[in-house]
């Protein structure tokens, strides 16, 4: 009985610690401005959506959301396309230096982004790609590739090799075997990888901060990091904006919990 109570207590603690800070942000976003600067009340006495309106009125926030969606979506598609092709080759085709290549991908995950950001900035500027979503997508894709290739190589290896041989004997080219046999069978793996890549790109700050210059390509994390207000910090709007960017992720997490965890694990443990 006591053990049971202790377990429940511990679990409540886990819930409070994990969700509490974010829920507090949610409550803040609903408080009228006057209640932001005093405690109590803990709960908003008259919940209002004013801050949500304010987020979209003071700045082109819808544009930032669209930019973020384009960057995260584009990165996910490109990383899955390039990554799955490479992973298929590394899992099923003869590739000279296979181990070396896998090792190279793994070592890239250890790169501190700060060590590449200034040459990349100079390169992007020289190519006239500054302030474009394209530059961000290419860079985010590159740094998502190691994870994508590792996870997907694992998934392709689990597909019985006989299927590959059968497809080849039936006259499929290597690309057809990839496209018609392996890709559909590895769909759960592609999905798990895609979610991980999407979340990483949606959240990315450093490259977005340096490559973007104007509202044309600014993503939500950059906007949120640079939220105006040296003197009067708009706490309510910051809270509302935080909730808006995080909600899609929370929905993804709650819907696809198992797949995310399995993707994370196969990325880390192999």
């Amino acid at each position: 009985m006591i053990r049971r109570a202790a377990l429940w207590g511990a679990m409540l603690l886990v819930l409070a610690w994990s969700l509490g800070p974010f829920l507090w942000q949610g409550l803040t976003s609903l408080k009228p401005t006057g209640e932001l600067s005093r405690l109590p009340p803990i709960l908003p006495t008259a919940p209002t959506l004013d801050h949500y309106r304010g987020v979209f009125e003071g700045r082109p926030f819808a544009r930032y959301l669209l930019n973020s969606a384009a960057v995260a979506g584009g990165t996910t598609l490109l990383a899955l396309a390039v990554g799955s092709l490479a992973a298929f080759a590394l899992a099923r085709l003869p590739v000279p230096g296979r181990r070396l290549i896998l090792g190279l991908f793994l070592s890239i995950t250890m790169f501190p982004p700060i060590a590449t950001v200034s040459p990349l900035y100079l390169g992007v500027r020289a190519l006239g790609l500054r302030d474009t979503l394209f530059a961000l997508i290419v860079v985010d894709t590159t740094f998502a590739l190691p994870l994508a290739v590792w996870v997907l190589t694992g998934f392709f290896r689990e597909i019985p090799e006989d299927l590959h041989r059968a497809a080849r004997v039936d006259g499929c080219t290597p690309f057809q075997a990839f496209r018609r046999v392996h890709l559909p069978l590895a769909a759960p793996g592609l999905f798990a990888t895609g979610i991980l890549v999407f979340i990483a790109a949606w959240n990315e700050l450093l490259f977005a901060l340096t490559f973007t210059a104007t509202d044309r390509s600014r993503t939500v994390p950059v906007a949120l990091a640079l939220f105006p207000g040296l003197h009067e910090v708009p706490w309510g709007e910051i809270a509302a904006a935080s909730v808006i960017v995080t909600i899609p992720l929370v929905v993804l997490v709650l819907l696809f919990q198992r797949r995310i965890v399995s993707g994370l694990l196969s990325g880390a443990v192999k």
């Binding site: 049971r4 679990m11 886990v14 819930l15 994990s18 969700l19 800070p21 974010f22 507090w24 942000q25 600067s37 005093r38 405690l39 390039v82 092709l85 490479a86 080759a89 085709l93 003869p94 590739v95 000279p96 190279l104 991908f105 890239i108 250890m110 501190p112 982004p113 700060i114 060590a115 590449t116 950001v117 200034s118 040459p119 900035y121 100079l122 390169g123 590159t142 740094f143 590739l145 290597p174 690309f175 959240n203 700050l205 949120l224 706490w235 910051i238 809270a239 935080s242 960017v245 995080t246 992720l249 997490v253 709650l254 919990q257 995310i260 965890v261 994370l264 694990l265 880390a268 443990v269």
Partner: protein, 287 residues
């Protein structure tokens, strides 16, 4: 069969090429570029670009701000990774038991992991606000968490631990599945207590998962940027400035690409050194 095989031999390298081209062009070449820049006095806005050899690196040793940022990074990394691993282990052991609502707790744990780091910086900034923050209200204190030199770095630590512990917990939870149940039962039958069972049965099986957690968390923590940038901006008085934040400011505020790259290069070398140590530990055990 011959033409089929020849096709496979051509296809393999061809399929890997796009990925390798991106890695080479967008990660490796810029990395080398950073080392190249670090050997120069390089300020593009003033059209200054001149080779200075290792001058930038010599200057690092005499730069108290660099040494401070190195110290801050090491402090955050070692303390942060220790706390995250310990807390993660506790959470993993808790979630490993079966009880109603375990799935809910597991899903809740993914929320801090998924929250953008910028958002986590912003929400802790609000919680820790000296005048209106809920933490001071709950504790009944009047502390300036983000403005006091010795408190601010621990505020960063708190925000980082909150965001990254779930990752450690989930990996360790997976590690716990490997521990054979009959061995745990045998230990109990033999009269070993919970602590002895943990140290003599569970922990040895958990070792690889622990090392992986330590490796990933250490490398990730050493390049910490987002949360510091948002929460404190490196202040007050550079007491929370990390290597990545200092390198970023040097490059994009001072516009000193040469010296900024030297700091970035040192960050890279530190991460490389740390990963070699871990890989040795991991591989050494397996062999």
């Amino acid at each position: 069969m011959r033409p089929v095989l020849a096709r496979e031999e051509r296809a393999g390298p061809a399929f890997v090429t796009p990925a390798l081209a991106l890695i080479a062009g967008v990660a490796l070449v810029p990395m080398l570029g950073a080392f190249w820049l670090s050997l120069h006095r390089e300020m593009p806005v003033f059209r200054i670009s001149r080779f200075v050899g290792l001058d930038n690196f010599a200057f690092l040793l005499r730069d108290p701000r660099f040494l401070k940022s190195l110290g801050n990074t090491a402090y955050l990394t070692f303390l942060g990774v220790a706390i995250e691993t310990a807390l993660g282990l506790g959470l993993a052991l808790l979630l490993h038991r079966s009880f109603p609502g375990r799935g809910l707790a597991r899903a809740a744990l993914l929320v801090p992991w998924a929250v953008p780091t910028v958002v986590s910086g912003r929400l802790w900034e609000w919680i820790l606000n000296p005048s209106y923050g809920i933490l001071n209200h709950v504790l009944g204190t009047d502390l300036n968490w983000l403005g006091h030199p010795s408190l601010a770095i621990h505020a960063v630590l708190l925000a980082d631990v909150w965001k990254t512990t779930p990752f450690a917990a989930l990996l360790l939870l997976a590690g716990l599945q490997v521990v054979p149940r009959d061995l745990l039962q045998a230990a109990r039958v033999d009269g070993a207590g919970a602590a002895r069972t943990f140290f003599h049965v569970t922990l040895p099986f958990l070792r690889p998962a622990l090392l992986v957690v330590l490796l990933f968390r250490t490398l990730d923590s050493f390049r910490i940027f987002d949360v510091v940038y948002v929460l404190t901006g490196g202040g007050p008085a550079n007491t929370t400035e990390t290597l990545s934040v200092y390198a970023y400011k040097l490059t994009f505020s001072t516009l000193d690409f040469g010296y900024g790259s030297a700091v970035a290069a040192v960050t890279f070398l530190c991460v490389l050194g740390l990963s070699l140590v871990y890989v040795r530990l991991l591989v050494g055990r397996r062999a």
